[in-house]
Subunit: 366 residues, 2 copies
């Protein structure tokens, strides 16, 4: 292999690869990044057998060929070189890098030992072209609600599913649930994408990226962001039929200013740390307010009230962290908060008529 | 105690206290902050018995008195309240806080159990008034070179010492040494200030602070930043006579661009991680350059050359991290690097005629 290419482009391609390349499967070659010089481009690829990243870079190819070298080391080295042209040449399992007066010899592993990179049959797939800002927001609104409990694998992913002509993303850990409506769809989709894959995709999005292409086949999903494709297996299994768990009406409701709610949730959380994480929320129709209280028996007692547009009266106990995380995920100046008695799920969402994001939290028994 | 005061001012005062208040001495009251209402001001204080922070805040005092309450909890609570007036009242060991519709009851400890806060006799002390930017830079240039080895306590502090009419700050761990000339002085000073104290003082400096007052007596130092005074014990012991270790002349020297030197040191460090941290530096009078090489036997070999104004020829091995940290501390576009043979100390400093900062690194035996 003998090629010359641009430092900036190679840095971007290696950035994605270096995070995916790990030795967790016990194969040393998975620590490496694959460099393969074809006609007028270079394939830069890494895989951890569940997730693969492949970037294509334009390059001047003097001699075709391929090699694998340690991904993190190469990534850091290239990123710290001055901008300009870099020359790469390989001989057996050694890679030579030259840029001006900087030179590096790096020992690698034969490219034949590298696993085959996954492919998707584009004709047999479901395809979405998404606005990057919508995608990033939807991921940040749902991923945190996923479970990290590997004994229930379906809950460690985000459920992409179509319903009445709309595509929804859903995350739940069994105690709370986040649902985001993303875009209109004519296809029928029900696929569970690992949360870690979605976070990885968010990381490779550069500021100048505008759209992201997503392609599903039966067992895989592929995200294309600029010149990088990230392909991941889907999580096998049946997602819970969550729609019947989402309450349609709430007997007791309050609409409050987002900033006020965040503030009083934060104040209550300081004490909730010492009381098993529980905070009490009371809606008063008489006082037209929402009160949050937390009691830490040794430390003291905290109570904050904020003005609210109320309907009905009632009290419920919630996990303080779940409440704060839900509020952080809702992008709205006014928040709707509702429940029906102390034991049925609480609903948090924007106060808009047709909000695209709904968050459900199961109450604690107080 | 019954007082009302400004949220913003109390937040700033508690910010400093909450980091100092810890239970490390095994006394629960040291977790607490002291609030003491005097005539027309409130004393807000914390101590860990080595270091104390005291702030004075103007307040409306309805009833004098004092109490101690958990410092971190109060600090976070007050910081999250809306700006405006806060009312505090205490009854026995309970503190009530009220701000609009927010209220808190906090259990504390009687102020009588709180240790006496340290005082300094101003008349018997040496006094400096320092520019905040100079102070912060001097601290960041010397503290990192201090030792963390508690078996040699004098090296865990920065040595403030006068010499030929100038005040110098010095940090060393025995393998490297950083010396910063700070200001002219007519006093004779030789005092070792704990590195942790200096970092704490740097943290309480707000953007709008312009000067900082420093007062030394025989056993203590006090820093006054705006309304906050931080008082610390000095480290007992004799600092090494470091001046005779600093070489006055170097046989082999190079002057190089700061950015170039930082870049090649970084590239070499990537490989030095796998080779015991050692990098080789070679000055060539023939090629007028400085070359850095690092070899990690399994991974490969790295070599980078940068243009240099040279004098003499030679080679030396340095710890890669020490080199990078020294370069980061030197505030200059051109760096002077010199040594006399492979075993005597290397000197790094600005290329200016009378640089105010000098860094010494002992070479490794290669």
């Amino acid at each position: 292999m003998e090629i010359s290419l641009n430092q900036d482009q190679l840095t971007k391609a290696l950035n994605s690869c270096s995070r995916i390349a790990t030795n967790k499967a016990g194969l040393p070659v998975l620590n490496n990044v694959l460099l393969r010089a074809e006609k007028n481009r270079v394939v830069v690829g890494a895989t951890n057998l569940e997730l693969a990243s492949v970037s294509l870079i334009g390059a001047k190819i003097t001699k075709q060929g391929s090699i694998t070298v340690p991904a993190k080391l190469l990534s850091e080295y290239i990123a710290n070189l001055p901008s300009g042209t870099i020359e790469l040449s390989s001989k057996a399992t050694t890679l030579h890098i030259k840029s001006g007066n900087y030179s590096l010899t790096l020992n690698g592993i034969d490219a034949d030992e590298f696993p085959e990179l996954p492919t998707i049959d584009e004709k047999e797939s479901i395809h979405y072209s998404l606005n990057v800002q919508d995608y990033k927001q939807a991921i940040s609104q749902t991923v945190f609600a996923c479970s990290s409990d590997v004994t229930r694998p379906v809950l460690t992913g985000v459920f992409w599913n179509s319903y009445e002509g709309q595509l929804y993303l859903v995350g739940t850990d069994g105690y709370r649930l986040a649902e985001r409506r993303l875009t209109a769809t004519k296809s029928e989709l029900a696929a569970i994408v690992p949360a870690s894959t979605l976070q990885e995709v968010s990381r490779v999005i550069h500021d100048d990226t505008e759209s992201i292409d997503v392609l599903f086949d039966e067992t895989q999903v592929r995200f294309r962001v600029a010149d990088t494709e990230i392909t991941s297996r889907l999580i096998d299994g049946k997602y819970p039929d969550y729609r019947k768990l989402v309450p349609t009406n709430q007997a007791t409701t309050a609409v409050v200013a987002h900033d006020d709610f965040v503030r009083v949730a934060k104040l209550a959380s300081l004490f909730a740390r010492n009381s098993g994480g529980s905070v009490n929320l009371t809606i008063s129709d008489e006082k037209n307010n929402l009160t949050i209280q937390s009691v830490a028996s040794e430390l003291g007692e905290n109570s904050s009230a904020i003005d609210a547009e109320t309907h009905g009266e009632g009290k419920v106990s919630l996990n303080s962290r779940y409440l704060s995380e839900a509020l952080a995920a809702i992008d709205s100046q006014q928040i709707y908060f509702g429940f029906s008695g102390a034991l049925s799920p609480c609903v948090l969402r924007s106060s808009a008529k047709k909000p695209d994001y709904t968050h459900i939290i199961m109450p604690l028994k107080s």
